[in-house]
Homo-oligomer: 414 residues x 2
């Protein structure tokens, strides 16, 4: 008696689905397509030579130990490097408060596992990061959205949703994915105060912190929360769970990220990770340490910033030149994405096949909106394509928008 698998899966499996952009990424990676769709860092800047040296050192010096099982908490010297790196953002914690994860996606998954029971509310920006939604859907999350503008989350509208006892507030304060906008200091402070007032934890996702090309760094929400509550300095206490990653600082293909939080959270996270994958690869932890040590992250981030800043400026210039009136876009101060809003009536999802026909791709914005809005928006990545491709791709998009806008104006209503 062979039943269908559909009948055999748990009810939970009904919540687990492909990311809405997965299929898009597949067909936008067809040969010849200039893709602004992926969230990929530029392979042009990966420190391949440093990785090669690191592999040699690790296999020569640690040898078999680099290939053996290792503790779930993560390689101590790597956590020391992360502690030092975090201090450059003002986050001062001992390594006991740092848990390594297999990419930020795993941090999102494990935090979902720890905090979300089926039907629980989670507060997110609208739009928000798709990977977070995908991870948390599996745990039965429901979303309360807070509108965003050019300055990120409208913290003045936060109180309403906090009254509904959400499990946590998820925020990407720096150069948000997907919108590229940055939360200013005052809103960060308001966020900290409101979260404290209602006793709701904040998950601060900060993959792009070092990728600022314009303006001044703003203190992480984690730091503002520490300042807000004073604290005796003996132990890390606070409302904020901070996460960041090597994916944009070194390379995503090694899948190394980290979570910084109070010890009680870290302890539970360790157990959850143990059940999920025992530990992140010992080898990768040692390699990441060997590459990142001795201030390399700091130096190397200058190279990345120089490259991405040039691409961002180029793209903004190309949009200015090629995009027709009525199309708007954000002017990010850093990160990898900008956000385009088409005139009402144009649907970015419907436009995509036409764009791919013209050999250019982006990600339609609607899937980033848990409330289903954002049909006329799109995410455009500026870090991955070469300068020449950026110019050419934006020109193609501009031509498409122009034609579609004309069609919109002249077409009879159907």
């Amino acid at each position: 008696m062979q039943k269908s698998w559909e009948q055999r899966f748990a009810d939970r499996a009904g919540l687990i689905d492909s990311s809405a952009i997965r299929e898009i990424l597949k067909y936008s990676s067809a040969p010849g397509v200039i893709s602004f769709a992926g969230g990929l860092p530029s392979p042009d800047v990966f420190p391949v030579a440093e990785f090669k040296r690191a592999c040699e050192v690790v296999l020569d010096e640690a040898g078999p130990a680099s290939l053996q099982y290792s503790p779930t908490e993560g390689f101590v010297p790597l956590r020391e490097v992360i502690a030092e790196h975090s201090a450059s953002y003002g986050i001062r914690v001992p390594i006991e408060n740092i848990q390594l994860t297999s990419g930020s996606q795993q941090a999102l998954d494990l935090l979902g596992m720890l905090f979300i029971d089926p039907g629980d509310y989670v507060v997110v920006e609208n739009p928000t990061y798709l990977g977070a939604l995908q991870a948390w859907n599996a745990y039965g999350a429901r979303y309360l959205t807070v509108p965003s503008d050019e300055q990120g989350m409208r913290t003045d509208l936060l109180e309403d949703v906090l009254r509904k006892e959400p499990r946590f507030i998820y925020v990407l304060p720096n150069f948000q994915n997907p919108s590229g906008v940055t939360l200013p200091l005052e809103r960060r402070q308001e966020l900290v105060e409101m979260a404290d007032k209602y006793g709701i934890p904040i998950i601060e996702d900060d993959p792009y912190g070092k990728l600022r090309y314009f303006g001044e760094n703003i203190a992480p929400v984690f730091v503002l929360d520490q300042e807000y509550r004073g604290g005796n300095g003996d132990e890390v206490e606070g409302n904020v769970i901070y996460m960041s990653t090597f994916s944009k600082l070194l390379a995503p293909g090694i899948r190394m990220a980290w979570v910084i939080a109070e010890l009680e959270v870290i302890r539970k996270l360790v157990f959850a990770k143990q059940g999920a994958d025992l530990h992140s690869p010992t080898f990768n932890q040692m390699i990441a340490y060997e590459v990142a040590r001795d201030g390399f992250l700091h130096e190397y981030s200058k190279t990345i910033r120089a490259t991405y800043k040039e691409r961002l400026l180029l793209m903004l210039e190309a949009m200015e030149e090629h995009f027709p009136e009525g199309v708007e876009w954000t002017k990010p101060e850093g990160g990898m994405f900008l956000w385009v809003t088409l005139p009402e009536g144009l649907d970015a999802q419907e436009l995509l096949p036409k764009a791919v026909e013209r050999k250019v791709a982006y990600v339609p914005g609607q899937p980033f909106h848990p409330d289903g809005s954002g049909k006329n928006t799109m995410r455009v990545n500026f870090s991955n394509a070469s300068p020449q491709m950026i110019r050419e791709g934006i020109a193609r998009l501009g031509a498409l928008f122009r034609e579609e806008l004309e069609r919109l104006v002249t077409a009879p209503k159907s």
Copy 2:
């Protein structure tokens, strides 16, 4: 208003706990302790030179692509090597039926996510693998146990538990962790038939398949199921989800394993993995391919077998020499563990601190029993310690058992 984290965690978090052996592994790894506690392969046999060469080749040839994001399904050439390797067990599937995971632990976790709703039954051997229990506890599993003997799961007792509509049957047919026993052909066939009769899937966990030192290989349950249902040969159909790993064939520190199943299962698994960690490290997949290709797995497994076989024989000999009458142990045909049963009245958990005092450690057997039995049992690893350590450690254990037995006989009842 800062609430305690305990109040803020999901109800699910109450199910997530440390593995019972985690603390044991920590203190048994104290300097000077001869540890038979871990499930560690021997670092003496890790192919360090091959990994070094592979890193060079991958970084020279694939370069930045080895450090970039990559598809969730996994690196195609690596899946081809796995397909070829699996064919040596009689499992013939195209690569579409193979999903890479970050170690077997992730496969267990993702399968739990797909199949277990809170309160659902899962059938396991008694004793069974602790990592599986830890992964599935988080999803609210309840366990139905089937007793085991020297030939593994008592399949004649299976029907009773299958009537309770469990989600799946979990079995480690080869050199089981923890008991070291192997399920014979007839029981495998009975398992296939009973599972088919009740329409219950089987998860076959086979980390040690290539580590057979005595006797003949027995067909995987996956293969017997395929044979049982005939099939048109066009598409892989069957009741069995098979999993294996490079942890014991190459090295655990790269965290590379795989699942083989029907396409419908694989599809869901891909979505679940995407939410859990996007993909396993691109770099590790390419390295594993580069090490494993061109028949290396087959050749290299001869080295591992020679090393472990010697250690197993040594340990069996030492037990024969040092263990007092009344202590019994399994005689595994392969794998990494054997299973010791103490006379009733001795408690392996209570004995452990005394053993560690004498600088020798093992894992008490009770945590492997979901039904709470097995107080007088222990798991002993023979792959990790050197021959000299094995002789010395077993002698120490034997002396301890002898004293404890004498105490048991002479002590007044308290």
